[in-house]
Amino acid sequence: MRNNAEDLALPAWQAAIDPISKLLLILLFTLAAFTAGNLPSAIIVLAASFILALLTKNLHALWGMCAFSLFLILTMLLIQGLFWPGNHTAAFSVASLTFCQEGLDHAALLACRILTIIFSSSFFIQTTTISENARYLENSGLSYQQVYVLMSVCYILPQMQENLRKIQLAQKARGIAPAKSLLSRIKNLFPVLLPLIVKSFQQAMNRSIALQLRGYANPKRRAASLKQEYWKDKFCHRLLIANCLVLLGVKACLIIFN
């Protein structure tokens, strides 16, 4: 989720979808991906989520999110292709290693599910700000404390990244040569982990103190007015929840009757 509204000029229809509907959309795609029991249907769900992600027109961010999961997907292909218990048809061999079709199919199915979740989440992340989400959730009846706990997860990671960047810059300034290989980068990360965690913890504590001083737990607090009108939000919620329930039902039937 974006930290702020800068350069968040959304097409009207994207802005008109409320944050909870976008979250439910992630749930719907996730359930669809898990209900799809074979590769072709999983690919159809994946394609739909990919189109949704493409509509945000932020390919750079999309690639960033996918790149993060590529390592995981490659590992899955390797492990499932070689060691999945249902393996029996050889697909291809590399050196003395034989990859099996069943394992590769299974890994591809899992990869489709992961990518579907990433693409649908990407739509939410690229079209909603933390503030908009917090505002909407509070207006939907959640207390600010609950909203804050939910939303704080969204900025703790960027804040830790920023702290890490500062620590690494300070290290460079003190003459520590930047690591060239991935392995030495990971090795260099260990000494900064403790100060990074301590600093982030300290910041979180300071912020919690500041929020209490600013009276966020005041019983008089009222939710901030919504900045925009959303298109039939309650209807969208019901529709998406109904679809999710249908998918859950289908999945249950598939489990029972298979």
Binding site: N3, N4, A5, E6, T129, I130, S131, E132, A134, V147, Y148, M151, S152, Y155, Q203, N206, R207, S208, I209, A210, L211, Q212, L213, R214, G215, Y216, N218, K220, R221, R222, A223, A224, S225
Partner: protein, 272 residues
Amino acid sequence: MSNNFQLTISQLSLRYLGFENLALENISAQSRGKRIGIIGPSHAGKSSLLALLAGIAGKMIPAKFSGSVRINGEELEAWRSQHEIALLLQDPASQLSGLADTVYDELAFSLLNQGKSDEEIESAVKRAADQLDLTNLLDQSPNQLSGGQTQRVAIATALVTEPDLLLLDDPTSQMDPLGRQHFFSWLEKLSCPFLLISNELDDLADLCDQIWVLKDGRLLMADSPQEIFRQLDDPAIDKPVAWKMAKKLKLKLDGRYPVNAHELKEAAENAN
């Protein structure tokens, strides 16, 4: 309220849980005037004193304290329940909610907590922004601000609720010289009483009615800036630039070295 401020501290000691040493040790002081500057080396207990007055130490941070604090004759706790105390933390970024898209939303946050209407919020935010030269930044994201700008926004978040007492913990540490100058000129116009921790000794000497000097959790002195810098002889605590210049130039005013630019100018004019 603003014209009648009396802070009385009697034998105040504070110890954070898990620490052997006292953060504040047997402090007794009485305010004179409504602008109090607090100086002292690191770990002197300056921030702890403000944390205790704001209700952080003992409530949000586990600590035990003894002694009494009274404001205008009322016990601190009772006074705090009726009045607004705003504290500005040393780290301005932590002062911000982190859930605001714009500086406007950030300032509005404190007012929403008080249940104010949109109209009241708008006028209060505009007033605070105007006071701190933030009007042009109201639509900007708090994440895009420089250190000095963030510090001004943090000050505005404390000021926007029109507190009865303002506690400022080194609020100019990240400001450039011009920003600092603006801040102190703004502070001069402020009607609300404040306790201000700062290393800007010249500005403190110019602005404050009284200066408290803390070291190792103890209050060494509490007096007017002129008396403080006349009597203070501790290598751990610096003196104002005006005082040091006057000493080098052997310029005295009423038998003592001037402590701020105005006094230095007057002393120089008298010498000529």
